[in-house]
Structure formats: structure tokens, C-alpha cells
């Protein structure tokens, strides 16, 4: 048995690409995207916030093996938590994380809608979340 498709019904790859680009353009015009972009730039340029992030990441890296083994001594665990709270307390980090969360919700809503229309999960097909 073969699939018979009326060629007149088919959207060419270039038409699909254009629809994808139009979608991306529409997404980039949303307040959620613009806020996310704004705080991404602010976060990159905020020296104090970058210092706290690097301090946390450095500590995390130095404890990687112990973390993987779930064998972190309590004092190291406390220090790691303190460094995490330090960067989470930075106003620009807070603003960035809120903006990111808002953008995630918007992207999820859009992919849910896409999935409902096309009858396939867009995120599952793209193997999202598994990098």
C-alpha cells in the first residue's frame, strides 16, 4: 500500500521554513521574549552578579565528585547553599530567572498548541530537555 498525497496540498520545505521564521519573529516580538533578552544582557554585564555566579559554579565544580556520590560533608553543603543564596539574592539574577520562567511558560503554551493542532508532541519529537 502506498501513500497517495495530492501534490497541491503539499506545503514545500521553503513554505514550512518561512512559517517557522514567521513564528520565531512573532515570538521575538512578545513582551516575555523582550524582557528575557533585556535581563540576559543585564545579567551578562552585571559584575557583582557574575562574581557570585562564578563563585558558586567554582565551588560546585570543586565538589563535583562528592556531589555525584551524594557524599558532601555538611559544612561543604552549607557553604555551597550559602553561595547559591548569594547569587539568587542578586536583583538582576532574580529578574532574569523570573523573565526566563515567563518565557518558558510562553514557549510551553505555544508548543502545546502546536502539538494539539498537528497531533504530535513537538517537544517530544525534538528530544527537548535531553542535551
Amino acid at each position: 500500500m502506498e501513500t497517495i498525497i495530492n501534490e497541491l496540498e503539499i506545503a514545500s520545505p521553503s513554505v514550512v521554513r518561512q512559517a517557522a521564521r514567521d513564528f520565531a519573529a512573532a515570538l521575538s516580538e512578545t513582551p516575555q521574549f523582550k524582557t528575557y533578552e533585556e535581563f540576559t544582557i543585564q545579567l551578562r554585564g552585571d559584575t557583582a552578579a557574575q562574581k557570585t555566579i562564578h563563585a558558586y559554579q567554582e565551588k560546585q565544580r570543586s565538589l563535583q565528585t562528592l556531589l555525584m556520590l551524594h557524599a558532601l560533608p555538611p559544612q561543604e553543603q552549607a557553604e555551597l547553599e550559602r553561595l547559591k543564596q548569594d547569587y539568587l539574592a542578586q536583583p538582576v539574577v532574580k529578574a532574569f530567572l523570573t523573565a526566563q520562567e515567563d518565557l518558558i511558560v510562553l514557549c510551553q503554551t505555544a508548543t502545546d498548541l502546536l502539538g494539539q493542532h498537528i497531533g504530535l508532541s513537538f517537544t517530544a519529537a525534538c528530544g527537548s530537555g535531553c542535551c
Binding site: 512573532a26 518558558i104 498537528i118 497531533g119
Partner: protein
């Protein structure tokens, strides 16, 4: 679905619907939906799949309590062979795989413009 729609700005909602409509007219998705319709309309193919699902479930139960017999294995294998020999089912499976393989290309196009992995942003963060 309707609760979600209220959160989407109108421009994005229109672009999402337009993209969905265009995707439905792309060759891989047209083929998939056509094969799916054939499958749903074919009583024999649907019955095969239903029977396979039942037998697989029974097999799993027997596996969990250690009571699988050679007859169970043979029964499952025969049914799997019958399903694989069914052209309607196999066409559905093939077109579904092709449609699923096509969507990352669309995601790549979107992501290039946005500067981040769009589906990754929308999907569960597992890493």
C-alpha cells in the same frame, strides 16, 4: 487548551496556528495523518494492534511474577510477526517516524532566529 490560549499574545497565537496549518500540509505530516486515518478505518489492523497490546500486557504481568512459558513467548512472537506483516500498520509506523524526524528541522529553523533551543526551552529540563 483555552486557558493556555489566553496567555498567548494575539500575534504569536496567529503565527502558531499558521505554523501548525503549514506543518499539517508538509509532506511528512500529510503522509502520517493519511496513514493514521487508514489505520483507524481498517478493522483488521486495529484489531491486530488491540490484540498485540493485550498480549503484551499479559506478557508483562507473567514476566513480573516469573510465570512466562515458551507458549507465551511463541504467542507474542507470532502476533508481532503478524503486525509487522500488516502493510497498513507498518506504513503508519514508518510515516509516524518520518514525521517525528521532521519536526527537529523545524525547531532548528525557529531556534536559529531566537538564539536558543526553542523546544528545549519549552520541554522539561532533564539535564
Amino acid at each position: 487548551m483555552n486557558t493556555n490560549l489566553t496567555k498567548i499574545p494575539p500575534g504569536l497565537l496567529a503565527a502558531t496556528k499558521a505554523l501548525a496549518e503549514t506543518l499539517l500540509h508538509s509532506e511528512p505530516l500529510l503522509a502520517y495523518h493519511q496513514a493514521k486515518t487508514h489505520l483507524e478505518r481498517d478493522a483488521e489492523a486495529s484489531a491486530f494492534l488491540e490484540r498485540l497490546s493485550t498480549v503484551q500486557n499479559e506478557f508483562r504481568v507473567r514476566q513480573s511474577n516469573g510465570s512466562v512459558t515458551q507458549a507465551d513467548i511463541d504467542r507474542l512472537r507470532v502476533l508481532q510477526n503478524e503486525v509487522q506483516a500488516n502493510k497498513i500498520i507498518m506504513l503508519f509506523v514508518e510515516t509516524q517516524q518520518a514525521a517525528i524526524a521532521y519536526l527537529p528541522e523545524v525547531n532548528k529553523e525557529i531556534s536559529q532566529l531566537l538564539g536558543f533551543d526553542f523546544a528545549g526551552m519549552a520541554g522539561p529540563a532533564s539535564c
